[in-house]
Symmetry: C2
Subunit: 282 residues, 2 copies
């Protein structure tokens, strides 16, 4: 079979991945879901044609979304995950024995069920007893929450289609209210390199800055996402990702991580000058 999947960076630039096998395809009320087996990245799935998670580099994304806030506040107990239907974010969270409760809100149950069938590597911990799954709109879910969570992880798609509401001022404000006084929000913060993603990065940062005391951005090398240069936002009421970084405490957990470590925690917040200047401009 000579089937190639194109991960769109721009209209005129793609990452092209040769497919070994098209595994499954389904159209849900929310989006089109496709599972493929590739030569380089193992099994991966797409939502509306955009790469979400693959077996080869998912560890990078999931390390960086979870361990950075956990090393800033090692006492995190209550966590809300919005999106993240593949389960990789929950998998990393369940490695912390101090976490007592994980609410995961995924709008499309089919993403979860299909990942449980085709991507056990990421979905294997969704049945942990601390995890409650809610198949509803994350935007609505946070509307009536107040002062509950230590950590909210917005593990969303890009701001088009079902993920759009997760990039609005109103949603970020609802997250702020749902967090307690030491609360941290980590959000999918797009990429600085190509114009289309850069615009979304700046919009997101501008909105968060109006709501949270502390708004930082950190980067990681994510080869299958546009340009390979991807960002998360770290927004919080009080805790600073570097000044409150508790490297020793985190290291005592003894967690074995393939991407994250205490040096990369600090290093990830050191942004290229052009990215820093862009973020400061809004």
């Amino acid at each position: 079979m000579d089937l190639w999947f194109n991960e769109r960076n721009t209209d005129t630039c793609n990452l092209s991945i040769k497919i070994k096998n098209a595994i499954y395809s389904e159209k849900t009320p929310f989006q089109k879901i496709d599972f493929y087996e590739s030569y380089d990245f193992g099994i991966f799935f797409t939502l509306d044609g955009m790469m979400m998670v693959n077996e080869k580099d998912e560890f990078i994304y999931h390390d960086m979304i979870v361990h950075v806030p956990m090393a800033v506040n090692p006492n995190i107990k209550n966590v809300l995950v919005i999106g993240g239907g593949d389960g990789g974010t929950v998998r990393e969270l369940t490695r912390y024995s101090n976490i007592e409760l994980i609410h995961m809100v995924e709008i499309d149950e089919r993403v979860v069920r299909l990942c449980q069938r085709y991507l056990p590597q990421t979905s294997s911990k969704l049945e942990d007893e601390r995890v409650s799954l809610f198949f509803e709109d994350g935007v609505k879910f946070v509307k009536d929450k107040k002062n509950i969570y230590d950590l909210i992880l917005v593990d969303s798609t890009d701001p088009i289609g079902p993920g759009e509401g997760l990039f609005t001022t109103e949603f970020y404000r609802d997250c702020h209210r749902s967090l307690n006084e030491n609360g941290i929000l980590i959000n999918q913060h797009e990429s600085p390199y190509f114009e289309e993603y850069r615009v979304e990065m700046l919009k997101s940062h501008e909105k968060l800055k109006r709501i949270f005391n502390i708004c930082q951005v950190y980067q990681f090398h994510m080869p299958t996402y546009s340009s390979g240069h991807w960002l998360f936002g770290f927004a919080s009421k009080n805790l600073h990702p570097i000044r409150d970084h508790k490297a020793e405490e985190w290291e005592k957990t003894g967690l074995d991580t393939r991407y994250y470590n205490s040096k990369i925690h600090k290093g990830a917040f050191a942004l290229p000058t052009y990215v820093k200047d862009l973020l400061e401009s809004v």
Copy 2:
């Protein structure tokens, strides 16, 4: 025109770039040189079909190859550049008034002449009076040099074709002898992510470790190179890239850089655990 250039990552994964215009093509005794104009990256050229330099992200590579060593030893006066026919590395070097002499050794004069014609953005400083161009094999050039250079920058292609000799133990040993006691060698150190590049990364590191007292590796986000996660090696006789980092002195130069800054200097040496483990395994 619907022409796409494929930058090969593996046999089954490419970065595909739509071409606006094929500008020029020439076969030299060393390699095939092609210049293209693209929608996303401006003008770029390839050697034997591999992307070398493009107008959009060359600043990242050239910032990181030059400013890292310059901020460790701000007294660098004599520099040898091996390869780097596009001139971008020399351009960044010429911004330092304390540099007195730049020897640039490029095996293929046609690369230089064509970049002078089609890529003024990188080649504009090759006529600086401190620069001497040598069109010969870098491997031979360093054979009879001893204790001359403060800095050697190996700005080479991958270790196939004309660049192969620039990844050998013998060449690294000749570089070591060509450097003075505070000498620093920066070398193109490939990428950790895809197997084929990882193998070369490890071979290079293993060889350098046998010869130089200090052998560190640093990373940067280079979207058009394989996986976007690219590395340089920092090998030296005495100076350590972090312990001897002179951030304040460098900042006093007032140089305006779009990627490099003093925080990223430190951050770039914070490698993901899997990369650190690989490098320590050899």
